[in-house]
């Protein structure tokens, strides 16, 4: 019957079996792809697109190009050595008058002010005092007459450097670098060079939180992995409940507990250890406590699953061969938890470097991490180029760490280290 069926099928079509199999495979693949596609398209619109847009903004330089188009064109061939010639001045005078009528002077001056401090004043003053278009041949004298800054090379270098269409200005700025008048990359002036500090602080706090989580999480994971399943399931609630409790609730709770009239200070005063309340919140201490609390479950859970898979037979074997408990722990148990330690630490560190809410609520001005500055430049000062550039650096760091994490966890899955 089967033979007849196969023969019949063969007879009905001349296509060889191999090709039909291939075709069936392809249909299956296409069907699978059709199921995945809606989500991919959705993420393209709600996630990948927005992030690509943000990255684009970190190199996009449109303001000067759009507001002062003739000036940008006139400066295209300028070698940047001396002050440009009369045509550039004439173009600038025309552009400024057009921009003044269109109300777009502020857009360009804001961007130019990033390139050269004080440019905003130069631009607004010029726009205000440029009564009529200068007679042909007199644009240079007219503009320098309004503001002598137009006679300086640095002013024109600033315009040229901001002419776009692409710029490395924001990305360099995010790393405390800038270009000098001659176009060489140099350290940014001291009062503007704050981002290396901010990145350093972000990494220091994240590293500190990771280490604290590891120190606090290790014994918990060990106890949970060692206790009988019934007991460890009950104790697991102590880890899972905080994990599931809203971040805002936990942050709020720490403020209530640690504030100067809070439970900790009241208790310490009642015992008589202190007379004046300690400052425990709105500083670095508060950031460490609250962030460690928030991220600790992310350390405990991977550690726990790596420890669960360690057979107690190894420890017994070590003991039977005469190893002291300390030796057995250090030489037999600990090395087997290394994948769990790696996964947990990386996870906590990745989450910590991007944290915004907790430091924003419990930290002081000197404890704000990189996310705070990205938010600040986006909503407060509307320096979107810089916000995007800082975001690009943070994104790069996160993705690099995530790739390492992916390799680590994947490798473990292959060896059966972290199945759950």
């Amino acid at each position: 019957m089967t033979a007849a069926f196969v023969a019949g099928a063969d007879a009905s079509s001349e296509v060889p079996l191999k090709r039909r199999l291939k075709r069936a495979e392809r249909t299956r693949r296409l069907k699978a792809l059709a199921l995945i596609l809606p989500l991919l398209l959705f993420l393209l619109f709600t996630f990948l697109g927005p992030i690509a847009g943000m990255l684009w903004r970190s190199v996009d330089d449109w303001e000067v190009r759009q507001v002062l188009p003739h000036t940008v064109a006139a400066l295209a061939d300028w070698d940047g050595k001396d002050v440009p010639g009369e045509p550039a001045f004439a173009a600038l005078a025309g552009d400024i008058r057009t921009a003044r009528d269109a109300g777009t002077v502020a857009i360009a001056s804001k961007r130019l002010n990033y390139a050269l401090n004080g440019f905003r004043t130069i631009m607004s003053g010029t726009a205000r005092n440029l009564k009529a278009l200068p007679e042909p041949g007199t644009a240079k004298d007219t503009l320098i007459g309004i503001n002598p800054a137009w006679g300086e090379r640095a002013t024109w270098v600033a315009i040229k450097s901001a002419s776009g269409p692409l710029t490395s200005f924001y990305l360099l700025g995010a790393l405390d670098l800038t270009r000098n008048v001659d176009g060489a990359i140099v350290a940014a002036p001291e009062e503007q060079a704050i981002y290396r500090d901010v990145f350093g602080r972000t990494f220091t706090i994240s590293l500190g939180v990771t280490v604290l989580c590891l120190i606090l999480g290790f014994p918990v994971a060990y106890m949970l992995a060692t206790l009988p399943t019934g007991q460890s399931n009950v104790l697991m609630i102590f880890v899972l409940l905080p994990f599931w409790t809203s971040l805002l609730v936990r942050t709020c709770a720490w403020i209530v507990v640690l504030q100067s009239e809070g439970i900790v200070n009241d208790s310490l005063r009642w015992i008589g250890l202190i007379d004046e309340p300690l400052r425990l919140i709105y500083n670095r201490f508060g950031v460490y406590v609250a962030m460690t609390h928030v991220l600790l479950p992310f350390m405990i859970l991977p550690l726990y699953s790596s420890m669960r898979s360690i057979s107690p037979a190894y420890m017994r074997a070590a003991a039977s061969l005469g190893a002291s408990p300390v030796t057995a722990f250090l030489r037999i148990y600990l090395p087997q938890t290394v994948p769990g330690i790696g996964a947990g630490s990386l996870l906590v560190f990745i989450l910590a470097i991007g944290y915004y809410i907790t430091p924003a609520l419990v930290g002081g001005a000197a404890d704000q991490m990189i996310s705070y500055f990205i938010a600040f430049y986006t909503t407060e000062t509307v320096n979107w180029g810089l916000a995007s550039a800082l975001g690009a650096v943070l994104l790069l760091a996160t993705l690099l760490l995530a790739v390492v994490y992916g390799k680590l966890v994947h490798g473990q899955q292959v060896t059966g280290g972290m199945k759950n």
Binding site: Y222, P228, W244, D266, G354, Y356, A387, G391, L394
Partner: protein, 276 residues
């Protein structure tokens, strides 16, 4: 395996007791702040200090009588439910596709699908803010629902994919060989079996949206403020007992979600145990 870890020698016992003491202290550290804040919401006084002057429900009344808080709770539920439904549809379809898709690009697609979990909230929020503003999607429910869906779908994909992994695809083939159309087979054979996994996915998705605040901070207009967003500004200004009442309400919802998930997990484990 656990009883084999039982301490044998005196030094082992000391080490074990030390571990238990340290671990217990850490567990107390994890629970204490949450437990400490709860009773304050039942205080009759207006200061957040112990001892409580007396018990009362006035702060809950205050919460329920405040249009600001009530509408934020409503917004959280609306946005949470809508983004859960959307992420369940997209996530389940994609999980079904991924389960039968063999390609060298699969790791890349998986990485893209899961990336919203890894990328810092501020970056997603800023990107969406730039991207959605010209489309008129900032300050709208639609924008927030779309954004929350992007953030919750990875959890749906993870949970549903895990369920599909233990699902025997031969059952679907059997249904097909008996003449069931793919949709009928899905509805009558696959769906009932993976339903607990879908339910966990939905809970994860809802919890993700319900707790999200960074995107809401950037994107929500005054009309769309959610409960976490309202708490954020409340904590910034001045922590009143009403906030502790809001915290208790939020925590209660988390506990219900967690308990449901745990019940689903246990049921699943029991079923697996029976099959063996």
């Amino acid at each position: 395996m656990s009883d084999n870890h039982a301490p044998r020698t005196a030094s082992q016992r000391v080490a074990w007791i030390t571990t238990v003491v340290m671990a217990s202290l850490v567990l107390v550290f994890l629970m204490a702040p949450i437990l400490a804040i709860m009773p304050l919401s039942f205080s009759s006084g207006s200061y957040l200090t112990y001892p409580l002057p007396g018990l009362s429900l006035r702060w809950y009344e205050d919460f329920l009588n405040s249009p600001r808080w009530v509408s934020s709770l409503k917004n959280s539920v609306i946005i949470g439910v809508a983004s859960t439904i959307l992420s369940m549809v997209l996530g389940t379809l994609a999980s079904l596709g991924l389960a039968q898709w063999k390609s060298k690009f699969k790791p890349l697609v998986l990485a893209i699908v899961l990336s919203p979990v890894v990328v810092p909230g501020v970056i997603t929020a800023v990107g969406l803010y730039f991207f959605f503003a010209p489309l008129g999607l900032t300050g709208s429910y639609a924008g927030l629902i779309l954004a929350h869906t992007a953030l919750s779908t990875p959890f749906v994909v993870i949970t549903v994919s895990a369920t599909l992994q233990s699902f025997d695809m031969n059952l679907a083939r059997a249904a097909a060989s008996l003449g069931a159309s793919p949709i009928y087979a899905f509805r009558r054979v696959i769906l009932p079996l993976i339903l607990p996994g879908l339910a966990s996915g939905a809970l994860f998705a809802f919890a993700t949206s319900f707790d999200e605040v960074v995107v809401v901070l950037f994107m929500a207009g005054p009309e769309q403020r959610t409960l976490p967003r309202e708490m954020f500004s409340g904590i910034r200004e001045n922590i009143s007992p009403t906030i502790t009442a809001a915290a208790v309400i939020l925590t209660t919802i988390s506990v219900i979600l967690l308990a449901t998930l745990e019940a689903l997990r246990r049921r699943n484990e029991r079923l697996k145990g029976n099959l063996r």
